[in-house]
């Protein structure tokens, strides 16, 4: 197993955290992991993304010029990362916010109404969980759903841990 993943979206969509969640879950299943956030311009605004590598073997390059998996949470991210996905790769896109469909046919593209699912479970901020839930369903070899759920307690700061019930609900909803 060796996946090179990009998670991308708006600043507030929790894409960096989503990447970390995958890492901790996989790490606890004894995989090698790396996570680099785009720390972009030394200033506010714009989009955010992170490069995640999860592998059975030691990771050499942690950079992800050509992801095998891309999760894009908004339209600008789709535009930016769709072309980069490796042929045969997987693209998960947030169809709540992205109207256009991906164009590539040499990769698997999966839309998920991440915001809608999140809202349905009573939160405006758990869209990232929906995307991760979907990914886990499609690529269970990265980490089990159980590991992902356990990782929540590590990745989410104490202050926000009260939202974990909702997070888990959204994860499961998107996963099923």
């Amino acid at each position: 197993m060796h996946e090179e993943i990009i998670v991308a979206g708006f600043g507030g969509q929790g894409v960096i955290m989503a990447g970390k969640l995958l890492c901790v879950a996989a790490m606890n299943e004894n995989k090698y992991v790396s996570h680099i956030p785009s720390y972009g311009a030394e200033m506010r605004g714009g989009t955010a993304n992170c490069s995640v590598v999860i592998s059975d073997k030691e990771i050499s390059s942690p950079t992800v010029p050509k992801p095998s998996i891309a999760i894009v949470m908004n339209a600008p991210s789709l535009a930016k990362f769709e072309p980069r996905v490796k042929p045969g790769g997987l693209l998960i896109y947030n169809s709540s916010l992205i109207d256009q469909k991906p164009k590539r046919t040499d990769i698997t593209t999966v839309g998920i109404k991440a915001n809608d699912i999140s809202e349905a479970e009573g939160s405006l901020r758990a869209a990232n969980m929906a995307a991760i839930g979907k990914l886990q369903a499609l690529k269970p070899e990265i980490a089990s759903l159980d590991s992902v759920i356990k990782a929540l307690d590590v990745v989410i700061s104490a202050r926000n841990r009260k939202h974990n019930d909702t997070n888990i609900k959204v994860l499961k909803k998107a996963n099923s």
């Binding site: 970390k20 790490m27 992991v33 680099i36 720390y39 972009g40 990771i59 050499s60 390059s61 950079t63």
Partner: protein, 350 residues
């Protein structure tokens, strides 16, 4: 506990400093190393230590100077432009032979440049951007684990040789999160009879680099330093040779670019091309002897840097037949690409 935790490079470095007994940190914010001061400001008070945000990098390095003179284990961190501002202070630290750890999480330059990871400060670190003849030990981690392990080592080396030890990482290393097993304290103890602790029951101690009278005394200091630098060069070279014994093509790199090189070596090997990687762990002293051995059989030596060519001078100065040495670099915060490295190596084949 040998448990793995996921940790950011900058934070791993901070925690490792605390493990190494560092209780004083003076710094000034700058991206991409802001997690270091943030981490220290949270953790040091918990350990009874002192975090102080200085009014500038100049103030920070001089607070380090003072704290070191008082006998403490002390650290500062910054990124490229901030490190430029510390050059005078570092030169004084060299002259006064004060131990300290200075972290440079390099970003794109020159000038304000940008905040992406870079390796543009190799010359400054290894040749001394400050005035006069001096050297500082330069450690070049390549993983979060090394960010932590080399930090622990750095404090011991600093105290052992009374020297500034630079941890020269790039922005990517500061920002990356990886699995980390926290290092253990080494337990080494260093006496500091020269420290300024009050002249009780002893002659006054003086910490200074000024050598005016007699005329020769500065040269004496220079020769003492030179002796020390020679000793360090003999004893403290560190490097890693990966698949170099039979390598027809040798890559030389450090930090994040060395990981990209390692990937390239693996892929080249899969294609049956005998590539190898020589990775610096100390940039000064430069592991010349080990490189000479690793490069013995190489037809070509490709230096890969996140700069337009700085380490290459040390590579050329170290190897036999320096005509073999070639260069591939990306600058301005861009990363070298595995594919381009492979393309170049394959092109040598013909």
């Amino acid at each position: 506990m040998n448990e793995k935790i996921l940790m950011k490079g900058n934070e791993a470095l901070g925690e490792a400093a605390i493990i190494a007994g560092c209780r004083f940190y003076f710094g000034y914010p700058i991206t991409p190393q802001n997690e270091v001061p943030a981490y220290m400001s949270r953790r040091l008070p918990q350990e009874g230590g002192t975090f102080l945000q200085a009014e500038s990098e100049l103030a920070a390095i001089n607070m380090v100077y003072g704290a070191s003179a008082a006998g403490a284990r002390v650290m500062t961190s910054s990124s490229s432009p901030g490190i430029s501002l510390k050059q005078e202070g570092l030169s004084y630290i060299a002259g006064a032979e004060l131990p300290c750890v200075v972290v440079n999480i390099m970003r794109g330059g020159p000038g304000l440049g940008n905040i992406a990871g870079s390796q543009g400060d190799y010359f400054q670190s290894t040749r001394g951007g400050g005035n006069g003849d001096y050297r500082q030990l330069v450690l070049t981690p390549a993983t979060v684990q090394e960010m932590a392990d080399l930090t622990v080592l750095a404090f011991d080396l600093a105290d052992e040789y009374r020297i500034a030890v630079l941890i020269l990482g790039d922005g990517y290393l500061g920002q990356i999160s990886e699995a980390l097993v926290l290092p253990k304290p080494t337990g080494k103890v260093f006496e500091k009879p020269w420290a300024l602790t009050g002249a009780k029951g002893r002659k006054p101690n003086k910490v200074a680099s000024l050598r005016l009278v007699p005329e020769t005394s500065l040269e004496e200091l220079n020769l003492v330093l030179d002796e020390k630098y020679k000793k360090i060069s003999a004893k403290e070279c560190r490097s890693e040779s990966y698949l170099t014994e039979d390598a027809d093509y040798l890559l030389v790199a450090y930090g994040t670019s060395s990981r990209i090189c390692r990937e390239a070596v693996n892929e080249l090997r899969e294609e049956g091309i005998k590539a190898g990687l020589f990775r610096l762990i100390t940039a000064w002293p430069f592991p010349a002897e080990a490189l000479r051995i690793a490069s013995a059989k190489a037809k070509k030596i490709l230096t890969v840097e996140m700069s337009l060519g700085q380490m290459i001078e040390d590579v050329k100065l170290s190897v036999k037949d320096p005509e073999r040495v070639d260069f591939y670099g990306r600058s301005g915060g861009m990363l070298p690409e595995t594919d381009e490295i492979k393309r170049r190596i394959k092109a040598y084949g013909n």
